[in-house]
Amino acid sequence: MTERIRRMGVVLGFLFCVLLLMVTKLQLVDAEKNQNHPQNTRDLARDFGRDRGAIQTADGVVLARSEPSDDQYRLQRTYPEGALFAPVTGYLSFTYVSDGAERAFNDQLTGGTASAGDRSLKDLFQEDASSRDVTLTIRADVQKAAAAALGNRKGAVVALDPSNGDVLALVSFPTFDPNPLAGHTQADVTRAWDGFNADPNKPLLPRAYRESYPPGSTFKVVTAGAALDRQRELAEKDYPRLKQLDLPRTTKDLPNFGGGTCGGRIGDLLRVSCNTGFAQMGIDLGGQNLTAEAQAFGFGERPPLDLPAPARSRFPAVERFKGNDLGEPGLAFSAIGQQNVSATPLQMALVAAAVANNGVIMKPHVLAKVTDPKGAVTDTYAPSAWRTATSPETAAALKAMMVDVAARGTATRAQIPGATVGGKTGTAQTQGDNAHAWIITFAPAEAPRVAVAVIVESQPGLGDVTGGRIAAPIAAEVMKVALGL
């Protein structure tokens, strides 16, 4: 019997060796494969279950927070303000996609990116890096005022402080409610996601910084800047009063909106948004000067906004104005922000900000500060310049002209009581008789604390009053609230 007991030991020993082999396979050989298995939601649950700080506005309105939930994810992300701030907060979705501040400030919100792979001895004896709260520069009152003024029209509003780049409002319509995307039931999340993506109005698109439009006449500020900066004599030139401009080497004419007749010096041209004058000015400037000025204002480069994937605004390269590609007619159209020019609402707000801030564009940002759970500030955003768009002298001259536009030009409806406003309207032709209504403004002119860009998409009517009629009141409302007037 002793011998058979020994043999039983051999059998059991063999069985245990099978276990050792299998557990080695599970924990060593197949570990990586199984960790990346599509049905493995552990990482996801870790991110979902990990403490995640709140996102709040500069004036203390909570935009996103994590609340305890009973399921395996332990925490449910909620967005108390829903769709209104979705262009800023973005969403944190089960499908592991995220956008907006949730994506941009993920590290701050979770307190770090320590993954299972990079642990140190210190981490073993330390609590998981604790979550942090993120305070934005966005002001709930400005955001609400901008959204209310825009109403149910497709478009976007950007408001920022030109002196430091603080973004005060980032409105986009239509928008979406991020709450269903943060749900924990895959089917519901998928349904909401598919619904948003199927919507032709693209509610998930933060138009304010990720969609480009032809900037139309608002771009004339840049063209004027090019003249002041690079071909000073054009600023003194008296442009002929015309109804339409005969474009060189074509049979086409470039008319003024609404068939008006206009001309004069640069200030006169800007006040009434004279197409024929600025088109001729573009031809006079030439591709080199116009392109260089557009680039100086930030066209062709992604603005360093601290939200994911801000779109590039575009201005044609110099070469395209030579020869037969765009040529001189192209210069004419580009100088008035049509054809091959496109800009995000953020970019146009930065144009206004450059004028308002002595020619310097501060880095646009939504992050104000990061605080730990006890409320102590762990990180504060330090403003810095993005680029110098133009000289202080040119900025001062442009500022005076834009104040004139608001005082007695196309942007009178942007006026607000208690502060001098500078502005420039725009009407960018789209299809048929519809046009995008634009305005860029700043106030108070003496020491601007807010710069605004508004676009309302596809409004009926082509007259250059469109921007002034539709977009200007929105900008006025936003500036009023931003300045506390």
């Binding site: 058979r4 039983m8 059991l12 020993g13 245990f16 557990v23 599970l26 060593l28 960790q35 299972a116």
Partner: protein, 436 residues
């Protein structure tokens, strides 16, 4: 001078205590970055329980094997640390059960002076074993949990009588088989003995039927497999030959095939074992989550209280091995397997060194219980076998399991401490055994 068995045991127990308290402290650090507030009381409780067990062994079985108690203490302590990290309420109960189990261990060592004494009550023990096994089927007190009818509830207490039944059956089998082993041994027998051999086969059929009843009526695949393996294993160790294991395996296979074709829950277990992924959110959930837990653990684990074993179903009981694999990694899971290997080796060594055939077979049978049970559940969690609901001895949460397994090792220690029979012992043996 060689150290005495008891001083070896004391030193090893201190190591086990160190690991237990260390694991408990690390789990506290992992969870809150601070040492648990009750670390000192915990340390004294662990040391106290180990001291009680050690002193009882020192006093009542001074020559007992010195490795068993430290291994059991280590497994029990590590299991407790993992349970405490998963569920504070269960940890409170588990500590009470551990204390009761140590008391049962001590009582067994004190009361059972010789294992052979148990033989006298073998039919009583067999009846008790069968009774315990069938008790969950009794209306009124039997309770079904997670689809298996293994539980008996009496007022506020609930327990799994099957855990104690396996001890009773091992004792009965040892006694019965030692007595009949010549009859059951392979090889030619005189004609007049063939009928006796046929009669001796009766209990084999009874064990088979019993395990089928457990599988069918109580829906407990793990226990039924364990009982059958225990019987066939002990039969083979007693009688030898290849016939019994082959016959046993054939009968088990037949029973299994029958069960698979007739009972949906058995078939579901097999299907899930073969492919847990096709229904990863349903039937395969336990296995898939266990697989992900092992993957998350990797080589060195994510650290105690650093993982998400709360995502593993039944992480404190049947699937606790996956929780260990996640938080302690391959190092930890292999260590647990190694501990069971050492435990089995120590148990079989005791069996080989025992002086009486009954002691030999009982020790081997009891060790077989520990070996097969840990293999069944670890193999189930790691997909070596279909997953059957059964506890990992000493590690899983469960009062009945703890008490029964601590009694089991008490008997093992008693056997290891039993000296060779003297002439007086042989004279005192029951007449029939002397005759056989």
């Amino acid at each position: 001078m060689n150290p005495t068995p008891r001083s070896t045991e004391l030193a090893l127990l201190l190591v086990a205590a160190l690991v237990t308290v260390g694991a408990y402290a690390l789990a506290g650090l992992g969870e809150t970055a601070s040492l648990p507030a009750n670390l000192l009381p915990f340390l004294f409780t662990v040391l106290g329980l180990f001291a009680v067990a050690h002193i009882v062994v020192r006093r009542f079985a001074p020559n007992a094997d010195p490795t068993i108690l430290p291994i059991v203490g280590l497994l029990n302590g590590l299991g407790y640390a993992v349970i405490a990290r998963l569920d504070a309420d269960l940890a409170g109960l588990q500590s009470t059960w551990t204390a009761l189990a140590v008391i049962a261990f001590a009582a067994t060592l004190i009361m059972v002076k010789r294992a052979i004494d148990l033989e006298r009550y073998r039919y009583l023990v067999a009846l008790a074993g069968i009774g315990l096994l069938l008790l969950p089927l009794a209306p009124g007190i039997g309770t079904t949990k997670n689809g298996a009818r293994l539980w008996v509830e009496l007022g506020p207490f609930s327990f799994q009588p099957g855990e104690l039944a396996k001890l009773a059956l091992a004792i009965f089998f040892a006694s019965y088989l030692v007595e009949r082993r010549e009859l059951l041994a392979p090889g030619g027998l005189p004609t007049h003995a063939l009928a006796a051999r046929a009669r001796a086969m009766g209990p084999l059929l009874a064990a088979w039927a019993l395990s089928l009843v457990v599988m069918i009526a109580e829906r407990d695949l793990g226990s039924s497999t364990l009982f059958f393996a225990l019987f066939v294993g002990m039969l083979w160790m007693a009688a030898g030959g290849v016939g019994w294991p082959l016959l046993g395996a054939g009968m088990f296979a037949a029973g299994s095939l029958f069960a698979v074709s007739v009972f949906s829950h058995v078939k579901a277990r097999i299907d899930t074992w073969i492919d847990p992924w096709s229904d990863a959110a349903g039937a395969g959930f336990q296995l898939v989550q266990a697989t992900f837990a092992f993957a998350a653990g990797g080589t060195v684990g994510v650290g105690l209280a650093k993982g998400r074993p709360d995502r593993i179903p039944a992480a404190t009981t049947d699937l606790i091995f996956a929780a260990i694999g996640e938080e302690l990694g391959l190092v930890g899971s292999a260590a647990v397997i190694a501990a069971f290997m050492l435990l089995v080796a120590a148990g079989l060594r005791i069996a080989m060194r025992a002086h009486r055939p009954f002691d030999q077979l009982l020790a081997a049978g009891l060790t077989l219980i520990l070996g097969v049970q840990s293999f069944l559940i670890i193999g189930g969690v790691t997909r070596v076998l279909p997953l059957t609901g059964i506890t990992l001895p000493f590690v899983s949460y469960g009062g009945s399991s703890l008490v029964a397994n601590w009694i089991l090792v008490a008997i093992l220690l008693r056997i290891s401490a039993t000296p060779a029979p003297t002439t007086r012992d042989i004279a005192a043996r029951p007449a029939q055994q002397v005759a056989a």
